[in-house]
């Protein structure tokens, strides 16, 4: 053979394209991060290193308020979504397929298939009626909405983990006269835990990131970080947005790294 280093897997131009893609994906984000440290006002001209924008973002009451609200909603949504998803996963996996299971599956994954704007509009109408009827305008609506669309994101990793689990341990527990509840609490749950945590983290990130549904459902003064940024993006273009974005990005990367480490251990 003439070509000693003929690699079956090599396709011409693919590696170059991939490299360009990675570059293209990261360049804008890195630019954004880079200019958050810009001493000047511009987002295109470097004027020296400074943490000023971070200080300003942190001193900005609206930002602090929005961040706190985002975190609260995300925590509650993640807890509710993960709990509900875990139960649903246990109910729909590793058992004989029952009538209506497809229906359950469709319902749970429906937020993934319906465009966000449609759900946002639907919730706007629905919640508006309830708001007028009950007079309650608190965070409950946002938490409910977020919990709902986070369910599929929590469900999928938990289900995946559940399907990959070895039944023999649970059978052994049953053989040793453990009750179903005991088996669940001491055998199934610990084994499932990495999947549950992974699902919770995904749900958390998804809730933190949501823009469209929150924008439509929120009431007065209920900005989350993304809706605050959306408002600012249509006006201010100071590096304060860059600082906030970098902060949010750092949090996401942190959570993702944890997610990767958790799911890697599972393969081991």
């Amino acid at each position: 053979m003439a070509d000693r280093s003929f690699s079956v897997a090599r396709l011409p131009g693919f590696t170059t394209t991939a490299m360009i893609v990675f570059l293209a994906l990261y360049l804008p984000i890195l630019t954004l991060v880079f200019y958050s440290f810009n001493a000047g006002n511009s987002v295109a001209v470097w004027q020296g290193f400074s943490l000023d924008w971070y200080r300003r973002a942190w001193a900005n009451d609206a930002v602090k308020d929005a961040t706190l609200r985002s975190l609260i909603i995300a925590v509650f949504a993640a807890i509710i979504a993960t709990t509900v998803a875990t139960m649903a996963a246990l109910g729909t996996t590793r058992r004989r397929a029952f009538k209506g299971q497809t229906f359950i599956y469709v319902m749970i994954n429906q937020p993934l298939m319906v465009p966000e704007i449609v759900t946002a509009v639907a919730l706007l109408i629905f919640f508006a009626q309830i708001k007028v009827f009950t007079g309650y305008t608190g965070l409950g609506y946002l938490i409910a909405a977020h919990s709902a669309f986070c369910v599929p994101f929590a469900y999928l990793p938990i289900r995946a983990r559940l399907e990959g689990m070895d039944l023999s341990l649970e059978t052994a527990a049953a053989d040793l006269y453990a009750s179903p509840w005991q088996t669940f609490r001491h055998v199934t749950l610990p084994l499932l835990l990495p999947g549950i945590i992974a699902g919770a983290m995904l749900a958390f990130v998804i809730s933190l990131d949501d823009v469209v549904i929150t924008e439509f459902v929120k009431s007065g003064g209920q900005d989350t970080l993304p809706t605050y940024m959306l408002g600012q993006l249509r006006r201010q273009l100071t590096p304060e947005i860059n600082a906030i974005s970098t902060g949010l990005l750092a949090l996401t990367v942190l959570l993702l790294t944890a997610f990767f480490l958790l799911t890697r251990k599972q393969d081991a």
Partner: protein, 342 residues
Amino acid sequence: MMKQTLAALALLMASTTLAAAEGELQLYNWGNYTSPELLAKFEKETGIKVIVTDYDSNDTALAKIEAGGSGFDLVVPSANYVPIWIEKGLVQELDLSKIANHKNIAAEWMNVDYDPGRKFSIPWQWGTTGMAVNQTAYSGDVNTSAIFLDPPPELVGKVNVTPEMNDVLALATMYMGGAPCSEDAELMKKVRDKLIEAKPKWQSMDYGMTEKMAANDVMASLYWNGAIFRARLENPEVKYGYPKEGYILWMDQVMLLKDAQHVDEAYKFLDFIAVPENAAMISAFARYANGIAGSDAFMPDDMKDAPEIVIPAELKDKGVFMKTCTGKAQDYITAIWTELQK
């Protein structure tokens, strides 16, 4: 341990979902229109924290409040919308005994025909709607609506037209020779055709021109004088013009929503903004004139002779104050606007 965590979570949930918090006020106002210093001063004097939520247009605000359950206490509509808000029962009549400074409202702004005696509103700021152009892109006459309706070649594809329906339609109607709120079907047809013809020459239909013109993202726009004043402070090439075919005068005022949950705090705020010094603070931030007598003494110097504030003598009588249109006229306006927006 589990029980304690659950209890803590329940408490947290309860505290965060409390509908009305004491010492707080929800103000729904135009974007970039409220002075942070004013709010800080207000909080210092009364201990009440004001939370501002932005809107970009009268229609958006009306739509949001109409939908119900918005959670806001105060809103700041323009004069031509005030009768609509009152008629729809969305705002409450003010108890003037709680607003001692009500008497400070300037005489010419006290008995306006959309709210005689100011029983429903306290003036916030007033201004004009005109043309703003970046002189590096175009150095010709800025005092004309042709900038957006018949753009000169240098500005084709570079003009922003802010999607404030009544403002745009009023300027276009006057450009075609009529008066705003016209019920003349023939005239309105021409207005519609002109706007549709001009739309492909526009760059965008967006807000936030203060920042965008300052950053050279937009070279020309239909916009409000104070916002352009602020853009000029950042970018000296920006020039404001008063269309000679006819331009608009408007006023925004603060009104109390019927389902407001912080009524006492709201009255304190309404009283607060009628103090001349505070009114001047509002103007100093947004760079518009206000309707409170005696505030001139406290206004910043650069507002005294700024081209955006002082209307040139020869154009003074071309200004028309925005009124509420009759049903038929409004139907035309809405229909044309809907066609234009698509």
